[in-house]
């Protein structure tokens, strides 16, 4: 019983100093099936050296086109897949070095909400039981406690506790996403990774879910990592935003500063492509007038990964890889122009 009530706040070694989550040099290379019997397996560089810090209570946005490594980064941070290299530190605990038992304890501190709410729920388990499942996994409370707590969290996310026995397919996408959020929150985590939480929802539902997420952040002192390809949502929702391209962060800054004055040519292209609610304005047919497509992460370009499409490319761009450097307070960019 007391196990439940002491959740969330107060756990962990570090009360409030330093970043909650710190990611350094994170790399994930997937080995693909070789074409021929004796060929070396091609390597897909999904995440190719990602560094970022997430401060307590803030919301960090990760944006980029599909295939840029956003979701892989999320899975690596949660250690749902094992990274090739790098380090992830949550509350001064090394996520990648800990044992299975320690990892189980760490799972109480960080949770994830996936993109497609229906497929992220077990189709044959009542939503109430699914919300209670993480408590079961961690042996928290007895059956009655878990039942109570699940009903409570149904109401926390704005659903009636009478819905306990419903199955996911009886719910709308928005309701299912509320269930998924309740399931992620029931362990009272400090960090919640939101992997495109509203992308699969109707536009009319999106605002409700985002509103709920903002409410919950204040109520449970949550820190969010918000992954999205929808820049207009990220702009409103996130304190800071990191732009990913081909498995690397090319720019990271306060959202306000990034959107007002993007420094990296790729960020500029992305932000200029946000559709405006103005039918007479310029049409955003292509990505800010960028030429070509995203190169394959199996054979990424040498040097700066963006140089093949960059309107400002210089000779050195294809030779050396620019690293993130701070050009203004809190505004880092990986580009030789700055």
């Amino acid at each position: 019983m007391s196990d439940i009530t002491t959740g969330g706040a107060g756990r962990g070694a570090n009360g409030g100093e330093g970043p909650l989550l710190s990611v350094e040099g994170l790399v994930k290379h997937f080995k693909l099936d070789p074409k021929g019997l004796f060929d070396a397996p091609p390597i897909l560089r999904a995440v190719d050296g990602v560094d970022f810090d997430v401060m307590r209570g803030e919301t960090l946005g990760l944006v980029g086109e599909s295939g840029c490594g956003k979701s892989t980064t999320a899975r690596l941070v949660l250690r749902l897949i094992e990274p090739t290299a790098g380090s992830v530190t949550l509350d001064d605990v090394d996520v990648l070095a800990c044992s299975k038992k320690e990892l189980l304890a760490l799972r109480r501190e960080m949770q994830i909400v996936f993109q497609d709410p229906l497929s992220s729920l077990n189709p044959r388990m009542s939503v109430g039981n699914q919300i209670a499942e993480p408590l079961r996994f961690h042996g928290i409370g007895d059956k009655v406690d878990r039942f109570d707590r699940a009903r409570e969290f149904l109401e926390v996310v704005g659903l009636s506790s009478d819905y306990y026995d419903r199955l996911p397919h009886e719910f709308s996408g928005g309701q299912n996403q509320r269930v998924a959020i309740a399931r992620a929150l029931i362990l009272r985590p400090k960090l919640l990774i939101l992997d495109e939480p509203v992308s699969a929802l109707d536009v009319s539902i999106r605002a409700q879910i985002l509103r709920l997420l903002i409410d919950l952040q204040g109520r449970f002192q949550l820190t969010y990592v918000f992954i999205s390809h929808d820049l207009s949502v990220v702009k409103r929702f996130c304190n800071r935003t990191a732009v990913l391209y081909l498995g690397r962060i090319v720019e990271i800054a306060e959202s306000e500063s990034l959107y007002r004055e993007p420094l990296h040519p790729y960020s500029q292209a992305l932000i200029s492509a946000i559709p405006e609610a103005n039918p007479d304005g310029p049409r955003a047919d292509s990505l800010g007038g960028l030429e070509g497509d995203v190169p394959s992460p199996i054979s990424p370009p040498t040097g700066c990964p963006f140089h093949t499409r960059c309107p400002h490319r210089m000779p050195e761009c294809s030779e050396r890889t620019p690293v993130l450097k701070e050009v203004k307070p809190g505004h880092q960019v990986a580009c030789f122009l700055h």
Binding site: M1, Q111, N129, E133, D145, E155, H169
Partner: protein, 308 residues
């Protein structure tokens, strides 16, 4: 809206264990009624179920309802239906067809149901192991099963019957062994596809261990097609068992199952076609019934097909 838990120090225990029991019973009851509604929408499946209940009852109570001893000659050889006071006539030895059908149902149902159920259990364990672990485990298990695949069923049964004595037990054992690879393949394929569902990853992120994921997430979501497949196999296995009995590997005379009755009837086919036709007809109807029940189960076991 309730207060945020944990923020007020003490969490109130608003509901009792009785509430929880009631809720769980309610969920179970609701699941069952919804499943039955989905099943009942298929009229053929309902008819087949009623028919099979009657057949099973007849088989169970065969000693009490049979008009004659099934192994004793009570009429003329190959007597047509109605002669000698026998409703369905006599077989080639003058034994009562009706009584033999009643008693034969016991054996036929046994060699249809028992091997299929046993093989399904074994196949679920093997297929889950191979499909979930993948890699070397998958290769080892599935290649061994491939070897069994390569043996014709009858050949396999002859080997097993050669080691053991012919009889019902041998029949059941050999059909079980022969059936495992077929079901295990389906279990493995379904496990691999369920394993990739996002809710498995969600469970792992929540802190679920591998045994929990297997029993609470993969098994319930993998089982439906397997149960449907196994149900339709029951009818087929009754026929296969009859074939083995025909070769002398299974049921020994004077006992009979429906399959041996068909093959016995051959001898008097021209004079007394009913001796072959009646058991043959029963086999067809019962096999069909199992296949209709399988169709109904497919809907009943799919949560998406259930409507409120």
């Amino acid at each position: 809206m309730t207060d945020a838990p944990g923020l007020h120090g003490q969490s109130m225990r608003q509901r009792s264990a009785a509430d929880l029991r009631r809720e769980n019973l309610h969920i179970m009851w609701r699941t069952l009624t919804l499943a039955w509604h989905a099943y009942a929408k298929d009229k053929a499946a309902v008819g087949a179920l009623i028919f099979m209940i009657i057949v099973v009852l007849i088989a169970i109570f065969a000693p009490y309802i049979s008009p004659h001893d099934p192994t004793e000659a009570v009429g003329t050889r190959g007597g047509l239906p109605g002669t000698d006071g026998l409703l369905l006539g006599g077989d080639m030895d003058g034994r009562d067809m009706l009584s033999r059908l009643f008693w034969g149902g016991r054996v036929s149902l046994l060699i249809g149901v028992v091997p299929t159920v046993a093989a399904t259990f074994i196949a679920v364990v093997l297929g889950l192991f191979a499909g979930y672990i993948g890699g070397w485990a998958d290769q080892v298990v599935m290649r061994i099963l491939d070897v069994f695949f390569a043996f014709p069923l009858v050949l396999l049964a002859i080997v097993i019957a050669g080691i053991l004595d012919p009889g019902v037990a041998t029949l059941i054992l050999s059909i079980t062994v022969a059936l495992v690879p077929y079901i295990a393949r389906l279990v493995r394929t379904t496990t691999v596809s369920v394993k990739q569902e996002p809710y498995i990853e969600a469970a792992r992120a929540g802190g679920a261990t591998t045994p929990t994921i297997l029993t609470r997430y993969i098994l319930p979501n993998m089982l439906a097609p397997v149960i449907v497949y196994s149900t339709t196999l029951i009818g087929l296995m009754m026929v296969v068992g009859s074939g083995l009995s025909f070769l002398g590997l299974g049921i020994q005379p004077p006992d009979a199952d429906w399959g041996t009755m068909v093959s016995d009837g051959r001898a008097v086919l021209k004079r007394a076609p009913h001796a072959t036709a009646f058991p043959g007809f029963v086999i067809v109807i019962v096999s069909l019934a199992f296949s209709f029940i399988g169709d109904g189960l497919r809907d009943a076991l799919d949560p998406r097909a259930r409507v409120r």
